[in-house]
Amino acid sequence: MYAYDELDRTLINERVSEFRDQVKRRLSGELTEDEFKMLRLQNGVYLQLHAYMFRVAIPYGTLSSKQLRALAHVARRYDRGYGHFTTRQNIQFNWIKLAELPDALADLAEVGIHAMQTSGNNMRNVTSDQWAGVAPGEIEDPRIWSEILRQHTTLHPEFSFLPRKFKIAITASDHDRAAIKIHDIGLRLYRNAEGETGFEVLVGGGLGRTPFIAKTIKPFVSRRDILSYVEAILRVYNQYGRRDNIYKARIKILVHELGIEKFAKEVEEEWKHIRDSALTLEDSVIEEIRSRFSYPAYDKLPHMPDELKKAAHDPHFEAWRRNSVFTHNVQGYSIVTLSLKPVGGPPGDATADQMDAVADLADKYSFGEIRVGHEQNLVLPHVAKRDLPALWKALDRIGLATPNINLVSDIIACPGLDYCSLANARSIPIAQELTRRFANHDTANMIGRLHINISGCINACGHHHVGHIGILGVEKNGEEFYQITIGGRADENAQMGTLIGPAVPYVDVADVIEDIVEAYLALRARPDELFVDTVKRLGVEPFRERVYATR
């Protein structure tokens, strides 16, 4: 956990006061909506279909139990008793009243939570691996770098009015759980052949109307230089990024239009001027940030405690353990993923009661720490193996022990037309129906790892482009239709999915997905050949034939 200092606390509190005054002037009419809109967007406040939506920052997806309780309090006191965890490791509340927002922000400020730069044309949450700090084989905790970038880019005068939003993700493991290749800048921390730790820098990734996989702009930047190099990228983007067309304003368009080599040259040119400036990260600065991250005082625990041996006789516990519990870098401990994808439930939502319960469980079993993953589940990162049976029982009681992590019903979905004013079609009822169709855990396990991503519009907040199965809602003559893609991936082998054919109507989507899965089961070379690998081997044609044979 990162410990905020006096400066952080002052900044957050002053921001609350500032926003309180802005809201007051908006409600009195002193500020018009046109004047206010940019201000509210800088504080994560959107207008959606039914109400304002309030997006709260969870920096690199790390929360303390105290902070999670504060989010539960906001859900209960100012909203309708629940919140939605997003694909950028943040949380959204859907029913917030503008008049009460300053109070909600003030309550959150007491525990160091804010909503700065969760919207607007600035640097958004610098996301990371939800297993940061505990993943086996990780080079070092990538969140330290997320924090350095967060501090540098918060209220940065030069980067507060970028051509468009800017998103950075950082990973420090071979397996990319942070989806860095679909970000404006992706950073991969690794050790080079000389044993030096540094970053592969990728740029120009993104989804939406014009999806691109990020390209490597520089294969190795040292830790010392990473801040100045990122700044150089931002300065080139700020200079040349389009401001005349919102659909062409992201850095991915600039990189595509210039070409990666020319873009890289521009960045090198800019970097020459700032490389050895105050942006150089001396070891002392890095260590100062690192020192503010606290790590648990782990006990020396056995690899296989008696409690676990005993509980292994319970098939339900075992099903959950095999699915939701992952190897920790400290013996005797585990990383536990809490599924927010119950059968029939809206993906990524948690009630205030569930949030409070998870906070209590974090205190009891995870040194008070919780993580939020971009796939919209929660993680308890420091659970002693001996506590797994007790934890499972507690999670099961509150509906957070569905053993479907990484399986077909672990669906990533945007809020869609039920909430979002940009949407063309609904996404949540599609997800809910799919979880019902694939509710049988034996079937889901037999299918194996399969990521379904659903977006209600081309803005792709559900990351449908990179789903193993991607579902995109569109509108045709006032009716909801859905385009289906297959073969996408969001990890270190990121690629876009391929359209399988014409869009299908709302009522047919679940049937189509079942057909695709059945085709996969018939076509896979071996039971352990993953869906996405079968698609890679065979292409989309066999799936297209199956889906459209009778449609």
Binding site: W95, L98, G345, Q354, L422, A425, Q432, G478, E480
Partner: protein
């Protein structure tokens, strides 16, 4: 439903109304023919030509304090005179979510 945020030209294909969100709490509201707003769709002023729609929208937009995001949306007017939302988007705004939420 194509977002009305993308409305550029005012062209209506049938009976329509003007809707927005109330500034202080975001609640869905409808422009009445009394130069006011109501949270009840049955109070909405119905327009049937582009000129009428434009005039109603202009009047609605002028109330920047009370309402935000005003736009023109279709309605169905039943034989009984009852006013119903004219597309799925407006049905959702009027009737609420189409999904089951988690139990509180």
């Amino acid at each position: 439903m194509t977002s009305p945020l993308e409305q550029k030209k005012i062209k209506i294909a049938g009976p329509s109304m003007v809707t927005a969100n109330r500034t202080w709490d975001g609640v869905v509201i409808y422009r009445t023919d009394q130069q006011s707003w109501s949270a009840d769709l049955s109070d909405a002023a119905i327009v049937r030509t582009s000129d009428e729609a434009r005039a109603l929208l202009t009047e609605a937009v002028a109330d920047d304090v009370g309402a935000i995001g005003a736009y023109i949306a279709p309605v169905e007017v039943r034989d009984s005179g009852a006013i119903k939302p004219g597309n799925l988007r407006e049905r959702i705004r009027s009737n609420g979510l189409t999904i089951d939420l988690l139990p509180a």
